[in-house]
């Protein structure tokens, strides 16, 4: 019951939030100063042709009238058509969501699986060698530019060592992708029992997932360590020590009280990375949402940009609702406040 009420309240809040996102994205791309029409029409187009295209796209109408039309479309579940490919933006996005999710979930999943224990262990022995080492590694992970990491990975593991396949998409070009069920070639390959595809898809995943894991593990280590240290210094942990509870019980107390802030942090990390992994997708020709968004921005394809940003916002909302639900289950205080 409490969970239903919570979801309803969240839903009510989400509507104005998404409206604001739609509005600001719409306005921001248009006050950017570039004229997309000239670019779409090409260098040889006459002034007349440019004006024709402009009125076809509705760009000759006043800004707020354009927005009203767009909002009307969005309200009906239509994100418009790309100015470049003339394909519907919604179906382009829906098609790419699992592609990016596959990369993100594996990457952040592995990043968290490694980063959380490392952070916790470092915090349990602060300033000792392991702690210093983990802080150094984490700093390194922070400092490495994403795209550069991808390029170095390809250079080392494909070009020099030949351990990994080239960064040319999600499955070897020699193979036919499996029939689409989930959109993840790995899972779809398993469903179709096409082992060659499964093998190739897994091999293609390794390097980009490793990149995402590395760039997500760095801040996860840092945050987990900080959270666990803060909990260790809390009144209740100090009191537990003063009450002579065995060391293991005190450690469990630290772990349990670190759980919700760490989960919340990983959620934030996940939403942040969906945008910033565009470059990794680009380097590995992953063809996911990030690459789609990047291409839309480079091409000045306003409709596609708007759809992309709206999706990012919705993704964040979904992640935070999931995080909040997890916190509700884990925290007696949150559960009571509903």
């Amino acid at each position: 019951m409490a969970i239903l009420r919570f979801l309803l309240r969240r839903l009510v809040l989400v509507v104005p939030l998404l409206l604001a996102v739609v509005f600001f994205t719409f306005m921001l791309v248009r006050i950017g100063g570039q004229d997309p029409v000239a670019r779409i029409a090409g260098p040889t187009a006459t002034q007349g042709e440019i004006e024709t295209i402009r009125s076809e796209l509705g760009l000759d109408k006043p800004l707020f009238a354009q927005f009203a039309i767009y909002l009307g479309l969005v309200a009906r579940g239509d994100l418009g058509r790309s100015w470049i490919s003339n394909r519907p933006v919604l179906s382009d996005i829906v098609e790419r969501v699992p592609v990016t999710l596959e990369l993100m979930l594996w990457g952040v999943g592995i990043g968290a699986l490694v980063g959380i224990p490392v952070g916790l262990f470092a915090a349990s022995r602060p300033n000792r060698m392991f702690d210093q080492l983990s802080r150094g590694i984490s700093l390194l992970g922070f400092s490495i530019p994403t795209y550069w990491l991808g390029l170095v990975m390809l250079f080392v593991f494909f070009y020099l060592l030949d351990w990994a396949p080239p960064g040319m998409g999600r499955v070897s070009l020699m193979l036919t992708p499996p029939p689409r069920v989930t959109g993840s070639y790995l899972i779809d390959g398993l469903i179709a029992a096409d082992w060659e595809v499964v093998h190739s898809a897994a091999a293609q995943l390794v390097l980009p997932v490793l990149c995402v894991a590395i760039i997500s593990a760095a801040p996860i280590i840092k945050q987990t360590r900080a959270i666990a240290l803060e909990v260790s210094a809390s009144d209740y942990v100090r009191y537990a020590r003063a009450a002579g509870l065995p060391r293991r019980q005190v450690q469990q107390m630290v772990l349990r009280n670190s759980r919700t802030p760490v989960i919340t942090y990983v959620g934030t990390e996940l939403t942040g990375l969906v945008g910033s992994t565009s470059l990794i997708e680009y380097v590995f020709a992953w063809g996911g949402l990030g690459q789609y968004g990047l291409n839309a921005i480079i091409a000045g394809d306003f409709v596609a940009i708007q759809g992309y940003v709206l999706f990012l916002a919705m993704f964040s909302v979904i992640v935070f609702v999931v995080v909040d639900l997890a916190v509700m289950i884990l925290e007696p205080r949150a559960a009571l406040q509903g």
Binding site: S234, D235, Y236, R238, Y239, A240, R241, A242, A243, G244, L245, P246, R247, Q249, M253, R256, N257, L330, E331, P332, R333, L336
Partner: protein, 329 residues
């Protein structure tokens, strides 16, 4: 043999500064006192005088960069300064219990209070879960919590400050400690609740013959609830004795100032005493540490003052002029 004997205890904070030079804050400079079973000692003094640090040193709860550099802490004749972490952990919450000033934040927010009581009991006693539960309920009843069996299921955030402090008292006493240290036990509580909690504490301490140390800023608390008092300044005890002797005839100028600055006296005295910053523990003056702030400082005070017994048996003060009858109070 006293229940607790603290002898010439020195606890320092030793850390490297930003300039990479080692800096030492001499937080405790030779604290000595003894506590008999069944008596309650009030430890008073301004913030930073070393009251809580004395408690943490006794319980072996110091964390880097704080460290005991010299002295002895004998609990029932056993020196705790060299004791291993396991030995100390067995004493903490068992024979030596602590009550702190922030009861609400001192309970684990993710564990029901009953389970916390049971955990503390079972950490020190070989009892099964049912017996521990029964014991916990009995303890809750003894600290005056209504409907204790139901309260076992309460979460810490559901408790008022006074209720949380009662639970902490129950937790401290569940293993029948012989020494109880209460560090500002009522600071965060409403005035009416303060009196209730202190009355309860006094009753339980008397009933069970526990030796207790009450750390407080509040001289009123000491006057009402303690047998003896020790006044701390800059990491050492400057005066101690029975409450009646020390408050009735204070011999150290710091004690006199402390008594003079209690709220009911402030009215009269306001404006007379200039505000002086607390002593710099990194560079304490030679001789009497109170010299810089003392209204009666003289040449002689450049030498370390002796510990002088005065009047009432057990009443001592660390001042060259302690045998002189006080005037400032």
């Amino acid at each position: 043999m006293s229940l607790l004997e603290v002898e010439d205890l020195h606890t320092h904070f030793i850390a490297r500064g930003l300039d990479n030079r080692i800096r030492t804050a001499r937080a405790l400079n030779g604290v000595s006192f003894a506590l008999e079973a069944g008596r309650t000692l009030g430890l008073v003094g301004e913030t930073g005088a070393g009251k809580s640090l004395t408690a943490l040193s006794i319980m072996g709860l110091l964390r880097a960069p704080a460290r005991i550099v010299a002295g002895a802490i004998r609990f029932e004749g056993r020196d705790l300064v060299g004791a291993s972490e396991d030995e100390l952990n067995a004493l903490r919450g068992g024979s030596i219990a602590l009550i702190v000033q922030s009861p609400r934040t001192s309970l684990d927010p993710l564990t029901r209070v009953g389970d916390q009581l049971i955990a503390v009991h079972r950490a020190h006693r070989q009892v099964d879960a049912a017996a521990a539960r029964e014991r916990a309920i009995a303890m809750l009843a003894s600290v005056g919590i209504p409907d204790p069996a139901r309260r076992m299921n309460a979460w810490p955030h559901e408790l008022s400050g006074g209720m949380a402090q009662r639970i902490l008292i129950a937790m401290a006493l569940i293993n029948e400690p012989r020494l109880l240290i209460a560090d500002e036990p009522t600071t965060g509580l409403d005035v009416t609740v303060q009196a209730q909690v202190l009355d309860l504490l006094r009753r339980l301490v008397r009933e069970k013959g526990i030796g207790a140390i009450v750390i407080t800023h509040d001289l009123g608390v000491v006057a009402h609830y303690c047998d003896d008092v020790a006044v701390m300044y800059a990491g050492s005890i400057v005066e101690s004795g029975s409450v009646r002797a020390v408050f009735g005839d204070p011999r150290h100028p710091y004690t006199r100032n402390l008594i003079a600055s209690t709220p009911e006296k402030l009215q009269v005295d306001r404006g007379r005493r200039p505000a002086v910053p607390p002593p710099n523990l990194y560079a304490l003056p030679d001789g009497c540490h109170y010299r810089d702030r003392c209204p009666d400082a003289a040449e002689l005070c450049a030498q370390a003052p002796p510990w002088i017994a005065v009047g009432d048996p057990g009443h001592c003060a660390r001042c060259h002029f302690a045998s002189r009858q006080g005037t400032a109070a």
